[in-house]
């Protein structure tokens, strides 16, 4: 299959700010001179359901969709979402996982159990894994809402691109009052 693009999945829970994350990375990639496609789903699934954003870039991107076994990186904003999307990772791909747990309704009602030792099981599958407690880092940066930016800091280590490009994207996409917190959150994620 023709595939000289890089594919990144953001997997999270409605309300975790995956849309801001996709704005930040979109800006970096556009400034980097790439063809870029980002795909997200709005509407009903956003009400606390699983949400996913596909990010693809390269010289020329056709499909905006990432299929099973195609993602170079999966940025999971929550542990169970990491497990859910594992089969989308390329054999040589890497997972970045926020260790935060958000129990879904079937777990809350007791109809199902939250999987134990998700990160261990993902690592045992042979996938490269980097896990971090993005919620704690976000709180340290000044707001629990900055989990998304912490994860972008962690992703920046994988994708490269100059620090000034990420800074331009951060300052271009953050609301003015959140910029300082977001800068701290990005740095903490990068250093984690």
């Amino acid at each position: 299959m023709m595939n000289n693009t890089t594919s990144v999945i953001f997997a999270g829970v409605g309300g975790q700010g995956t849309l801001l994350a996709s704005r930040i990375i979109g800006r970096v990639l556009l400034d980097g001179g790439f063809d870029v496609k980002l795909s997200e789903v709005h509407g009903m699934s956003q009400r606390g359901g699983s949400v996913v954003t596909y990010v693809k870039y390269g010289e020329k991107v056709y499909s905006p969709v990432i299929d099973k076994g195609e993602a170079d990186y999966i940025v999971a904003f929550e542990q169970m979402e990491a497990a859910r999307w594992l089969n989308y990772l390329k054999p040589e791909g890497k997972m970045l996982i926020n260790t935060q747990k958000l129990p879904p309704m079937p777990v809350i009602t007791g109809a199902a159990e939250y999987n134990a030792d998700i990160i261990g099981k993902i690592a045992a599958s042979g996938a490269a894994v980097k896990s971090l407690n993005a919620l704690e880092l976000a709180e340290r940066a000044g707001s629990a809402r900055a989990v998304n930016v912490v994860m972008m800091g962690a992703l920046s280590n994988e994708l490269g691109f100059g620090g000034e490009m990420w800074e331009a994207a951060l300052s271009g996409c953050s609301p003015a009052k959140a910029l300082d917190i977001n800068r701290k959150a990005f740095k903490l994620g990068k250093e984690a």
């Binding site: 795909s39 997200e40 606390g48 905006p64 195609e70 594992l86 009602t109």
Partner: protein, 580 residues
Amino acid sequence: MPQKTLMLGNHAVARGLYESGVTVVSSYPGTPSTEITAAAAKYKGEIHAEWAPNEKVAAETAIGASIAGARAFTGMKHVGFNVAADPFFTASYTGVTGGLVAAIADDPGMHSSQNEQDSRNYAIAAKLPMLEPSDSRECLEFTKAAYALSEEYDVPVLLRLTTRISHSQGVVEEGERARRELPDYQKNAAKYVMMPGFAKLRRVEVLERERRLREYAETTPLNSEEDGCPEMGVITSGAAYQYAKEALGDKAGYLKLGLINPLPTELIRRFAAKYKKVYVIEELDPIIERHCKALGVGVIGKELFPEIGEFSQSLIAEKILGETVESRAFPEAVPSRPPVLCAGCSHRGVFYVLGKLGVMVNGDIGCYTLGATPPLSAMDTTVCMGASVSGLHGFNKGRAGGYESKAVAVIGDSTFMHSGITGLINIAYNQSNSLVIILDNTITGMTGHQNTPANGLDIYGEPAPAVNLEELVKSVGIKRVTVIDPYDLAETELVVKQELEVKEPSVIITRRPCALLKNYQKKPPVSVIPERCAGCKACMKIGCPAISVSGGKAAVNRTLCVGCGVCGQLCKFNAFAEGE
């Protein structure tokens, strides 16, 4: 050099409206189309944008603006065109003065819809040209092309989008806004008064126009050909083109159709003749495929590809090349994460009470359709916008009055404005003892907070006259109208029981703003007093995402909880303490 930006397909359509010199945009929100009109409202001063009560009103507004000589637009989701179809079938006869374009956003895969209809069928039935872009860049370009086509052929033009096109971002180059002079208004009854004498003459024009459009389809640059290996040719359009291109690359040649109604004839014959095998790759209905087969062109289509859901590059690689992708799997099942009513949602208490009373619930379209999901599970039907109210009337007539004290309709404020009021008029006029509950959360919630005719704000957030729901309901002949607070479970239950028993039509308005609104008055999160909690899980019956049970005791997620206090009313042990 023109500025390159990353844009949602929907935003690119809005940019296309701006660059085409469009001045009037009227729509009703609907996923995945909503962002077109929301983005058009950003060009305030140059474009008049508005949220109309429903798609039919929006379409007629756009048609009126076109007759006035302006370039006009209406955008909607696929099922919205069912509502707007009436004016458009006849606007096909009248044609346009200023260019008129309607975007219809289909939802293959039903990410946020009640059905999976293929709007291309409408283009065929109404004899309207339809364009289908395959990425954000084309969203902008095809929108501009649609206005040129509309004015040149004197016809409303449909722009077909799908969720994946509307909600994907791609690179777009922005251009300048076209300067247009508004022509003087000239009465032309023979063109615009569609009574039989005139309509019969216009019908002839429609057929002649369609003949000319078929010729145009043979040569338009909207349809493009890419040569490739003679083994395999692919006829496709929209998102399916991108999937095919990624899966097959230069193993195939492509005929990419940008004008999907009317379809070309000779172009397809010439293309097909160059290849050993020709595949038609299209999501949903086999429309291009049937056209090809009717021409006697042998193609492979739905015998290989599904008529259901979205396609992807893997699907095409698997079906045509027999290639499958290797992937690892998580070693055990992962619980699903379905969407839920938000913490503090004003609909929750109502559905809890309806479930407790065990009544038959006619549901409607909005966030509150989630009242059908466990643990609330308090909904029997959901069909389309407004169907709860008229459906309840029919249900009660069908049960010959036997269910009037055991059945209700629930409908949101925005949906009630859309098409609930006409059903209520029917209840009053044709007398069924029906109980309609209007869930007034002061906003269109599901599609991301659009203002409504009943909340006192226009699309720009400026003050606007507000429909008074109580007065409106009374004015159609409903005498019993009660307004209640859905956070108060005892009051909600009492009033619902009482209104079910009365022997006349009745309306309850449950009033609390959506908990996600910026100006929502959050209270501090509630907390659980562990020594009082008996671990009985009564508080779990409302399906609040902020409540869970751990270690045999209830626990509250302090980030999610907005202090609505509904959970505490379910607790016999007073284990919930108000936050401080």
